[in-house]
Subunit: 221 residues, 2 copies
DNA sequence: GCTCTTTACTTTGGATCCAAAACAACCCTC
DNA sequence: GAGGGTTGTTTTGGATCCAAAGTAAAGAGC
């Protein structure tokens, strides 16, 4: 289990680092040697990564690294949007427990503090990524069924689809500050809607929020 | 590959047939013997089924059959609804090719023919399942990116979530006829919306359509 | 010279073997 | 009698071996 789990995550990293190019055929022995294990855990990992969508069957034999188009990226983001929107709507409809309310308030507060000084520094990127992930996870988790969370988790395996994969341009922290500021506002609006039991509004806000990493840059630049 | 693929689908069947109870621990050797193969393909299959969500890790060792609550079922149906809704909206927004238009028209026509006689016979169930699957697949496929289709496919691995898993009560074909009649109408409305480029309407119709197997019975009874 | 066939090599799939980890039962000690 | 440690059994994970399928290359026939 130790090694097997590691092989999966190591392979994920190798792929997203571009060591294995999209469309490139990927062999069991090759990977096994590179990671210093036998073929067995690699074979197991291939099956997992196939299901995750990072690998695909290459013809009649073996696997290849899946390649993603612009449209794929956009779709993956939209998929996350509708799924998180669904989670938010369900949550608003069933009402939020005071414990969850406190947790969301906590991450909202964290966001305010991070943005309070009016600009971004390098270290803030990690901080935002952290609070953003917690915020989204809290909502999805509270939606009542692991099924939605699983669907999101599987979608998030596509490296560009996860909520915390918001592309941050370290060269343009000024612009990124405005983007995160907007994201923070959206977080606060979502919480507002959740508290009021406004299901449709919470859903739409979450759906729009998913786009922030995708097409906000040009507007907020 | 032959055997490996088979092991996955055979196991899926054994699980959904209830031979392995939800929550029950499932051992590699046990399954291997039952299917007459060695442990290797079973181990591979377990990883696949874990990702599909039918199995889950049982503590520190092995797997167990996942159990699903009422809420899980409802959520899985809703997940399919929002995803197919997303596909339909994208499709409406980008416009449908004449080839797809013809295909959808074909399945619509099939549905009309099946329901034309005014009642259901046993054999119609299979026929409807067939055309229904084709109809849904055509829309999802045409939505432009495999990402949405993959997300739906993964969700459909939950046996009760797939569009063609509409529960048909063979004892009450009268009632089922009304249900399928309603489903047919919804199909036609979706096509209408798609042709008109009415994205939001297409989306909402698909989302509602997902519920038909779930909560229509009591109303149409 | 081109194509088809056969052969050799590469790579994956399945089975078996071995080691390590987990679980359970038992015994010993306090 | 209870708790903890130890031992033994079960089960999984990793490595290796063998067979089968696929691909590529080379040779023969036209």
């Amino acid at each position: 289990m130790t090694s097997s789990r590691n092989v999966v995550s190591q392979l994920r990293k190798l792929i997203s680092d571009g060591l294995y190019q999209p469309g490139e055929r990927i062999g069991e022995v090759q990977v096994a040697e590179q990671l210093g294990v036998s073929r067995t855990p690699v074979r197991l990992a291939f099956r997992t990564l196939e299901q995750e969508g990072l690998l695909e069957r290459a013809g009649k034999r073996g696997f290849q690294v899946r390649e993603f188009t612009e449209t794929d990226v956009r779709c993956a983001v939209e998929v996350r949007g509708v799924l998180e929107g669904l989670a938010a709507r369900r949550l608003a409809e069933q009402g939020i427990a005071s414990e969850l309310d406190a947790e969301l308030a906590f991450w909202i507060q964290k966001g305010r503090e991070l943005l309070a000084k009016g600009y971004l520094v390098e270290a803030d990127i990690e901080g935002w990524s952290e609070l953003n992930r917690h915020f989204h996870e809290a909502i999805v988790k509270a939606a009542g069924s692991p099924v939605i969370g699983d669907a999101i988790a599987r979608n998030n395996h596509l490296p560009f689809a996860a909520a915390d994969s918001i592309i941050i341009d370290r060269q343009a922290l000024e612009q990124e500050y405005r983007k995160l500021h907007q994201a923070q506002l959206q977080h606060e609006l979502v919480v507002q809607a959740l508290r009021q039991g406004e299901g449709a509004r919470a859903e739409m806000l979450m759906r729009e929020h998913a786009f922030i990493g995708l097409r906000y840059a040009e507007l907020l630049g």
